[in-house]
Point group: C2
Chain length 480, copies 2
């Protein structure tokens, strides 16, 4: 889901896409809490999801692309310029020396250790089959419903048993939902019902709990959520766009149901709600309409280091603390969730295997006027997501890119030709005007920060097949 | 698993089958606890499993045959004499008015309500897909691993992903075990590892817990547990028998691992262990060797109301209460588990939807010399399990039978021809000498008890296709 896939305007005034989508419950949450207008994830899902659980930036996890459900199976598209990168293709692990994984402590484990009742419902996609990370129980969750190694559902439809039709099931068939087979329950709804059911236990026991409700929607396959799709056909959307919009609204309905549930249980005022996505909105790749329009005014979409691929619709309701209907413009990133959540839970001086890259957002949640220390937010994608036309690859910022958000600035590093681009997001939210040539000093400074940060975090760079040499870090290239 | 599928002699002296099987951990449990030599289940699994959870006899649940994973799909073989029976083919439900189910309160739900941490691992098989009973979360469990609507695994092998091979998976593919795919972990071992993992949480939190570890072994498909199979080939067993024996030993290893785990955690002396099976040992139907030998000296096996089909290897270790290496000869039945477990947990005056048929075994566990009140133990199978030859059907006591255990006596009611058989189990454990003709008074008395009990419990009887009349209850037939 992207930042524009909602009727909540994250860009100040309502834009055309805000009018297209209907997310009344996100509006409700925004009214009750704080809207982050500069919140970031990574360009695709697994890197974001593993950074969420570990507090590490992807440059450090070496999980820079989505992981296959199959162990030791790289997901990068074949490339003529670069050879295969030896990244952590099996994802995250709680067990040392699991091949091709990052070994780290997860915050759900720390919450669990502290007495929280930890529930995962929905998409997990933290590790490949045959490794511990495929099982949420190994990552600190006490309850897991429907989470496994796959990143999308084989089907959203109960009539197709969410993929589990005899002789048809693939690795993406969604587990644990037999109760709903052939009941007409869309996957999003089934997950919501299961989440509510799972919360009953800690609520009845007056135990603190953490629910990780990770909807499969709006990932492909784009399938109509029939409860909502007609509205979008009526509005003139094409089939793909209507299906996509219906999936957004189904997900939003889930948010509302959870909010209603918390209220009915009398714990709404004692429960923090965070809304976040794990990559930008899908652009092209099955969407209807022209390319580079689906996150307008943001450039590109999922897979890209341009804003459309990484900027997210983040909302936080911290009852009694976040001011209703407030806005926070601090640049924040998924790496920040780990320390923030532990901070909320009062878990201090915890020991983690890994070094954290995120910072706690508690001070700025308490007061959005508190400016977070200026710091590099790093996006690193030394991988090949899709086979794009050369022209589109560059237009969309997809495959072999790093990027830096630093204050008002955005630096893009294209590894293919080792070019740098510079954008002033305070004036150019659409990243149209590359200022690198006009402002070589700022470009050089930012390239230095990005290069240094990537090296500190042990980032991997792609290796040219012709020379067997890695691409230089961005601080090592000539400013053209 | 049958009563003879173990090296623990449940018949006093060791019999040939006790020498065939190797179950050192059952021996260890028997040494530490109490062996029940007259413990009963129903002839097939779902009836037993649903009686376990509800405390109701199958005559009352109307779950008298195994349930299909598919909703509203009867599993009875077609018959010329009798039409289809309208039994609860979708199993057990926690929700009223679920079609073709019995609506009841489960003891795990009552344990959960009382603060127990309730875990299910392995075979569930309590309800069909598309109904609440397919999901152990609806039956009182907080954690479910690998349990769903199917009664057997598609595969025991990690190399076959326990059935989840792309394009090959059927309804019996085992969920939730992706972590073990292609690791060489036999299903029994994977379930054991998951059970230990799940127990860590309540142990760390010092919460009381209930673990329902329900191995899929030794259900078909009979697949070699490679850790143990060679011993049985070396002993000269044929392939089917060697595979079966290896699955028994793998299951026994699991018991030992759980016992070791409890000891290592320091809670062995504060944890009750119950070992039980859900039907008699499989006889014929894929087993090697001649029919009617697999539970020797007991007659027949799974599917039958003769002793080989219903008598089980039950062991209970109640630390500090059950005398080590003690034996209890009281006839007991799976219906008794519900009140016994609640008694153990100190849960009194609980409200259940259903009327219970079982009684608490606590008094006789405390002192095996305490004789339980003489009472009818009822086995009711107004269904057709398999297409047997007419001769074998009668020899084996399979299809359309009821039976009564009452004191030393066993009454068999064959619905096909409305014949009664009487056996004195104190002298004739193999049910070879039918005393009905020689002892019509006892036969009549027992037929009266069985008929009365069946009627009290609202038992269903098969309906003859030719006359549309139900088979008379056993107290209504002429003693021949």
């Amino acid at each position: 889901m992207g930042i524009m896939d909602t009727s909540v305007p994250f860009r100040g005034e309502a834009m055309p896409l805000n009018k297209r989508y209907h997310t009344p419950n996100m509006e409700r949450l925004a009214k009750q809490g704080m809207k982050f207008t500069n919140a970031y994830a990574q360009p695709v899902c697994t890197p974001t999801r593993t950074s969420l659980l570990t507090g590490m930036n992807t440059a450090r996890t070496h999980i820079t692309n989505w992981t296959s459900p199959n162990k030791n199976e790289p997901t990068d598209a074949k490339d003529e310029q670069f050879g295969p990168l030896n990244w952590n293709i099996n994802g995250l692990s709680n067990t040392p020396q699991t091949e091709n994984t990052v070994y780290a402590t997860t915050f759900p484990q720390l919450l669990k250790n502290a007495g929280y009742y930890t529930i995962h419902v929905g998409k997990a996609h933290w590790g490949s089959m045959g490794t511990p990370g495929s099982n949420p129980y190994n990552l600190g969750f006490m309850v897991n419903i429907a989470g496994h190694s796959a990143g999308h559902p084989q089907s959203y439809l109960s009539e197709q048993r969410y993929g589990n039709l005899p002789g048809k099931a693939q690795a993406q068939a969604v587990p644990d939902l037999q109760e709903y087979y052939n009941t007409g329950t869309f996957l999003t709804e089934a997950l919501t019902l299961e989440a509510k059911k799972a919360m009953e236990t800690p609520i009845a026991r007056k135990e603190p709990f953490y629910l990780n409700l990770a909807h499969y929607a709006v990932h492909v396959p784009l399938m109509a959520d029939k409860r909502f799709v007609q509205r979008y056909y009526d509005a003139g959307l094409d089939s793909a766009e209507a299906r996509y919009a219906s999936m957004i609204e189904g997900m939003d309905k889930s948010l509302g149901d959870i909010m209603d549930f918390l209220k009915a249980k009398g714990i709404a005022e004692n429960t923090i709600i965070v809304f976040m996505s794990d990559n930008g909105g899908l652009d092209a790749h099955g969407r209807g309409g022209p390319v580079n329009t689906h996150n307008y005014p943001f450039r590109s979409g999922k897979g890209s280091v341009y804003e459309g691929g990484i900027r997210e619709p983040m909302l936080v309701k911290w009852p009694g603390v976040t001011k209703p209907q407030s806005t926070n413009a601090n640049p924040v990133i998924i790496d920040d969730f780990f320390p923030t959540i532990l901070d909320w839970a009062g878990i201090r001086n915890n020991k983690t295997i890994q070094k954290l890259d995120g910072i706690s957002l508690v001070p700025t949640l308490k007061n959005p006027a508190v400016k977070l220390t200026e710091r590099p937010l790093v996006f690193h994608y030394p991988n090949k997501w899709t086979n794009e036309k050369e022209k589109d690859e560059q237009l969309l910022g997809i495959n072999y890119y790093s990027a830096l958000r630093y204050g008002q600035w955005k630096l893009i590093y294209r590894m293919r030709n080792q070019e740098l681009e510079l954008y002033d997001l305070s004036k150019d939210i659409s990243e149209k005007n590359n200022l690198a040539a006009a402002n070589p000093a700022e470009t050089k400074k930012l390239a230095g920060i990005l290069g240094k940060t990537l090296k500190e975090r042990g980032a991997q760079m792609p290796v040219a097949s012709s020379t067997s040499k890695p691409v230089p870090f961005p601080d090592e290239v000539t400013i053209r």
